[in-house]
Structure formats: C-alpha cells, structure tokens
C-alpha cells in the first residue's frame, strides 16, 4: 500500500463516524403539530405546554403538549394504540387513534414529500 492508500483509508475511517453522527443524531425537533379530527385539520404550536381535549367520533381524546413534545394521554378507544405511541417530538412522527378518527402529526420547519413513487 502506498502512502496515498493510507490517506484514502484514513479519509474513509474519518468520514464514516462523521456520517453516523451527523445523520443519526440531532433529529430536527418538531415546531408544530397538525391534529386531524375527522376531515378537519388544526395546527398547534409545540412551544407552549398545554392539554387539548378533542371530541372525536367516539368521545373525547386528551392530547398533551409538553416541552415541545406531544402525545395522546387518553382516548375512548379499545386498543389504545394512540397512547402507546408515546411522546412524539421529531418532525414526521405520527400517532393516530383510528376508532376516534383523530391523528397527530409533528411538523418540521418545512413540509416535504414523504416519497415519490413511480
């Protein structure tokens, strides 16, 4: 191996940790969340801590916002999938209570496509 080879290997050895650290840590924190109730969408900021009570198809779901995070704390559904989704804080995270027809999606700075299919 020549000296340039060692430089190339060193470059790769430095680049990989950099990529892992830059891409896999420090997710974009959500700044707002959109709450869908039936067909109706409301946007809420995550900056202030508060609790929302939303009347859905079955009853009242309680959604809590705290320290820039949002979660379902109560819902009149059977499975409680929405509550088990836990705290959502990164842009793109999502929880839904399908029986009550309420969903919560965290929004980032700029909305983008999920994906494009051909």
């Amino acid at each position: 191996m020549t000296r340039a080879d060692y430089c190339a290997v060193l470059f790769a050895a430095l680049l990989l940790p950099y990529l892992y650290i830059s891409q896999w840590t420090g997710d974009e924190a959500g700044v707002a969340a959109s709450i869908m109730n039936g067909g109706q969408t409301t946007k809420v900021s995550l900056a202030h801590d508060h609790t929302l009570e939303i009347d859905g198809a079955l009853g009242t779901s309680i959604i809590k916002i705290e320290e820039g995070k949002i979660r379902f704390t109560a819902s009149p559904c059977l499975g409680k999938q929405c509550i088990h989704s836990g705290w959502l804080q990164h842009a793109g995270e999502f929880a839904a209570c399908l029986p009550n027809r309420i969903s919560v999606a965290v929004l980032g700075e700029e909305p983008r496509f999920d994906s494009i299919n051909f």
Binding site: M1, T2, A4, D5, A8, L15, L16, L19, D114, F118
Partner: protein, 198 residues
C-alpha cells in the same frame, strides 16, 4: 488476447469495419465486466443500492494496467450493455448505475493526476466505491426520492461502500500480482499498447 491482435478488417454486406488492437482489448475487458455485472445482478441485496460491485474490479484493474481512457470505455460499455441485457436500460436502476460509474470515473481521473507514486489498488477501489455510492445516492435524492429522510441511509450505504471497496481493492491487488507473475514466467504480453497512456 484473441490471437489476432493486429488490425482486423471485417466485411459484411458492404459495411467495412476496421478494428484496432485497442478495440479488441476494450471489447474483451468490457465483456468480462458485463459478465460479472450480470451475475451480480442476480444476487439478492439487503438494501437497495448495496451491491458488492465486483464488476468494478475490472474497471480498476483496467485503469491501473491500461489507463483512464480505457477504463472509461470499459466502465461505460459495462453499464450500457449490462443494463440492456438485464432489461433495466433507462430505468432508475440504470440511472443510478450510470451516475455511480461516472462519479467513480471522475475520481479515477483525479487519482491519475496525483503526483508521486499515487494510489495503489486498494486506495483506488476504496475511493472509486465511495464516489460510486455518493454519485448514485445524490442522483437518487435528486430524481427519485427527494426527501431528507433518505440521508438516514447514507451512513449505512457508505459503510457498505467502504467495506466492499476495500475487498475489491484486495481482489485487484492479488489479480495484478498474479498477472505480474505470469508475465515474468512466460513473457505473456499484458500491455500491448505500452506507453500510449500515462
């Protein structure tokens, strides 16, 4: 190579085609690369975009033995003919393969400009594999999946590129050593073109 390494003239239905030893060399090497490319395309891949890239072993070996221009020919012919034979010509797969090949050829060109003893097979393969990955990743991001989430895959893809790059570098190195030994044993002419490149 084929025995007839001098200029050959083939006449068929009025069309005359003159081939040079260069053409024969490129055709043989490209055929080898295409065969590897097709065999590799049957292998299952754990993640889209991750492939051992063994066909690039031929590209790098050609680059070292015959220079950059021949490597461009072999690499481009492999991407083109390989995709036509597999049936992915002009599909997203082809675009990714093509952009990766172009990116690694650019890196090889830069490497050929390096002063001193320059890069050996392992460094060349490593950098070419990483450039290949960056090239196809960027085109995938630009054309097919313009979503920032794609960048989450980059560390994994790059790790695969580094690992497979080093492995193909080791393959190229032992291949060249083998060729060198044969050259010394039987005075087989490896480079019919000698000082034309470099």
């Amino acid at each position: 190579m084929s025995g007839k390494s001098n200029s050959t003239t083939a006449t068929k239905s009025g069309i005359t085609m003159t081939t040079t030893p260069d053409d024969h060399l490129i055709a043989w090497l490209a055929a080898l690369a295409i065969a590897i490319h097709i065999i590799e395309s049957v292998l299952p891949s754990p993640l889209p975009g991750v492939k051992p890239g063994l066909a690039n072993v031929i590209t790098i070996a050609v680059f070292i033995l015959y220079g950059w221009r021949t490597a461009v020919w072999v690499s481009m012919l492999r991407v083109l003919v390989g995709s036509i034979l597999i049936g992915t010509f002009l599909s997203p797969t082809f675009m990714l393969s093509f952009s990766g090949a172009v990116a690694s050829l650019i890196v090889l060109w830069l490497a050929s400009r390096l002063p001193g003893e320059g890069l050996g097979p392992i460094g060349l393969c490593l950098l070419a594999a990483m450039a290949h990955m960056f090239g196809q990743f960027y085109i995938a991001y630009l054309l097919f999946i313009p979503h920032d989430g794609l960048f989450k895959l980059l560390p994994l893809l790059m790790t695969a590129a580094v690992v497979f790059g080093i492995i193909s570098g080791i393959i190229v190195r032992s291949m060249l050593r083998h060729l060198d030994k044969r050259k010394n044993d039987t005075t087989t002419i490896i480079n019919p073109r000698n000082e034309q490149e470099k």
